[in-house]
Symmetry: C2
Subunit: 225 residues, 2 copies
Amino acid sequence: FLDRTLEPEIKEIITNVEKHFGNMCQRFAEYVCSTAKLRDKADNLVREIGLYADTETSNLKKGMRQFAGHLAMIEDYRQARVERLKAKVIGPLKSYGSVVKHTRKDLKAIQSVRDREAKHMTRLEKTIQKNPLDWQIIFQAKSELQRATMDATRTTKQLEETIEDFEKHKIQDLKKIFSEFVEVEMSFHAKALESYTLAFQSIQSVDEEENLEVIRDSLHPPNNN
Amino acid sequence: FLDRTLEPEIKEIITNVEKHFGNMCQRFAEYVCSTAKLRDKADNLVREIGLYADTETSNLKKGMRQFAGHLAMIEDYRQARVERLKAKVIGPLKSYGSVVKHTRKDLKAIQSVRDREAKHMTRLEKTIQKNPLDWQIIFQAKSELQRATMDATRTTKQLEETIEDFEKHKIQDLKKIFSEFVEVEMSFHAKALESYTLAFQSIQSVDEEENLEVIRDSLHPPNNN
């Protein structure tokens, strides 16, 4: 059966997961927070391009406004990304604290059953020492120990299941969280590529000659010629 | 010829470009600075995933390390993006200050020639008032005015060219700067998509069953069975 000396090792496994899931949660949260700040900066940039566009004329104004519009779309996608990362990455990582807590409670229950077995073992030894001939008392202590040993064996099985379950869920959850992270990120990058393609077309479509005509007209109004 | 009352309008055009190119430069710089901060946060995240991977076993460790490696690549791309945006967007926008300064200097030179014409006009009027019969002095003043008018006409032509040149370059530069911005951004998003695809494969390749075997073996070392 399960080696008793493995208990510190099992505790170490759980503490390690608690520590690193906690750290990853914090690092992901900082990454998402920084992404939200970048969105703010990009929003300011989009606004400034729009303000400038309004002071320009004809198709430069139109091109710049369209350009700013496509950039604004990307920031909407970035906002959606921030919200999805919070829900699909930070949330699950945060809730890992309760998984760890639950497993620790299971381990404690198992520990107390095992402690009870050890206590009955000591009691039997003392009984034999004190009353080496009182077979009735010795028999009772022996049967109590037997029952405690049976309980301990059963909980040892539970301990194995608990730790295997913990490990299994950990791997599944890690794969799920990391995969969701990648999917959210990829979805954003793909949409950003689309919007940038449109933004590129908007700015390329600005006709320099048409704009110069407008400037020339404003320098030589018809009634001045 | 060019209406004299247009001069404030031309100054307004130049001041407007100076203001908005300056503002856009600042907003782009903040965007790039914020992107660099996001890279720092992502670097921390990558480091944490690596630290955690080192405490794990077998193919979970391997999968997580590969995953972190692909994420690290994305941050290298983000760093390259920061440097390219500085060179291709912020640099050219910043250098627009000197374009504006140069154009202002040209305008000032033109203005002084026009002022000289006005001065000669006043001088001629005064000469006629004071010495209405001194044809020699009047003739000299007239010919000086004529020369000043010729200079002014020539510089008016220059003014038209200067402002048209300024407008032409402004549109060309705007198109170039915005297009370069989009190209740098698209290149980053495309590379990020590639790396995330590989990262996804890395994490999906983690075999849960193999990891559970390792855990089972560590709970039941061979010499214990």
